[in-house]
């Protein structure tokens, strides 16, 4: 039986890790390679890096980070942020990432999901979406709307419909980030996560709001998520990963017992 995965998320700006509180006032937390190694040794199951600079002149820095991480950690990791073309994807995969995460670029050009899946396999393509509760209406029946460009542009797309569409187009996994919960430590948006988890048959990653190990238990057992993103709760040392796993194990969640090193 597959384990539920704990995925620390590292927002990287100009080669440095930051953690945004609702995408504003980013503060430096540390060096991405050193943090990746620390999480690997603690037993993180996977890592995700978001390049939040994502402008062309910075791209080379991120590729260097990916390459350095790939030399030192031996668990899967994905890279996202500003990936728009097959060539963008190929560059991070060749640098050593296991998966790419596409977000705004996929909303603007849904074909990129299919092209990426054909070129690299569905298992490489994570469709990530930023979701905000904007109220149910005919165009957005669930009341959950997809937002792009770092939370600035409302698309009028229903998140549940976009999740189904992403699966149909060839995404291998979905990462559902609640903007309302991001950086709040109040827990995942369980209704959103659960609704999407039931609507698709590919793995769903819950994101946004993790503050305690109990929040992860809820995402896994109540909302049916396959993986959960953690950021500030681990970045500031409040909850080491072994402690989170022990809590989950004691509460009936199947988690990986190993760690990195050797």
């Amino acid at each position: 039986m597959l384990c539920k995965r704990i995925i620390p998320c590292l927002d990287v700006r100009a080669g440095k890790v930051t953690k945004g509180i609702e995408f504003q006032d980013n503060v430096d937390v540390g060096d991405p390679v050193a943090m990746a190694r620390a999480y690997y040794e603690q037993g993180a199951d996977e890592l995700v890096f978001y390049d939040i600079t994502a402008s062309n002149e910075r791209r080379g820095i991120m590729i260097d980070v990916v390459r350095a991480v790939a030399r030192e950690i031996f668990i899967p990791f994905s890279v996202g942020g500003g990936l728009r073309t097959l060539e963008d994807m190929r560059a991070v995969l060749l640098a050593g990432a296991e998966k790419v995460s596409i977000d705004s670029g996929a909303v603007r050009n849904p074909e990129i999901i299919t092209q990426g899946a054909r070129a690299f396999g569905s298992q490489c393509i994570v469709l990530s979406m930023q979701v905000k509760k904007t109220g149910a209406r005919p165009q957005v029946p669930s009341g959950y709307e997809v937002v792009i460009d770092g939370g600035r542009l409302f698309t009028g797309k229903d998140a549940i419909a976009w999740a189904r569409e992403g699966e149909r187009l060839g995404a291998g996994e979905l990462c559902i980030n609640s903007i309302d919960r991001d950086g709040t430590n109040l827990g995942f948006e369980l209704d959103l996560t659960g609704t999407i988890s039931r609507a698709v048959s590919i793995p769903v990653i819950a994101s946004g709001g993790a503050g305690t190990p109990e929040h992860l238990r809820q995402a896994f057992l109540e909302a049916g998520a396959d993986a959960a993103i953690v950021a500030s709760m681990v970045h500031y040392g409040r909850y080491p990963i072994p402690l989170i796993k022990r809590y989950l194990h004691e509460h009936g969640v199947e988690v990986r017992n190993g760690a990195g090193s050797e």
Partner: protein, 204 residues
């Protein structure tokens, strides 16, 4: 020197990084002479069986691996697609494979007991060592390894199976015969347990 077979698939650098991290010298190559001269040969990678076999045939490495490496008894490690193409055939692309190990490759069922099964399986799964083998030295039974697969090998001779895992059904997760070892899971992405198996192979 360890030869990592380059058949134009991704993920070769991950295996090379892991070997270098463990202190083993390796070369990524598509040259038959380098493969034949190596002490050990690793065929890693993700990809479809049909495309993998097409690439190996185009590079004229299919018979090299089967006759000059595996049949000759040179230590060989297949990872992920590298375990599947050892079989006679694969249901993926209805591909004819190397036939180095009798058996076939099947796809995970879409449902088990009426419940949908997520295919591909992506993630960490528990591996049960059904037969002791030196590659598992220092690796506790039921350790977790990282899998990404829609298909699984079914060797005709079940005595070659050294480990199993369960994803809807129980399937062969690793096999061994003489100096031939192959795993369905990704050793290069399975943390300390994966590195240990890789290191053990390099010391066989």
């Amino acid at each position: 020197m360890i030869a990592i077979v380059d058949y134009r698939a991704g993920n070769l650098t991950s295996v090379a990084s892991a070997l270098q991290h463990l202190g083993h010298r390796c070369v990524i190559t598509d040259r038959a002479d380098q493969i034949c001269a190596a002490d050990r040969v690793i065929l890693p990678g993700v990809g479809a069986a049909g495309a993998t076999m097409d690439n190996l045939r185009r590079l004229e490495l299919d018979w090299v691996l089967r006759d000059r490496v595996i049949a000759a008894g040179k230590p060989f490690l297949g990872i992920c697609i590298g375990i599947q193409i050892l079989m006679d055939r694969s249901a993926e692309d209805d591909a004819r494979c190397l036939g180095a190990v009798a058996g076939e490759v099947k796809r995970f069922p879409a449902t088990v007991d009426g419940r949908p099964l997520k295919v591909p399986q992506i993630g960490w799964n528990k591996v049960h060592q059904v037969r002791p083998h030196p590659v598992f030295t220092g690796v506790p039974d039921h350790s977790h390894f990282y899998f990404v697969n829609s298909y699984y090998p079914v060797p005709a001779d079940s005595s070659v199976v050294i480990a199993t895992a369960e994803h809807g059904i129980v399937f062969c997760a690793a096999l061994a015969r003489g100096n031939l070892v192959a795993t369905q899971f990704h050793l290069e992405k399975s943390g300390a347990a994966g590195l240990r198996v890789l290191d053990n192979f390099c010391r066989l």
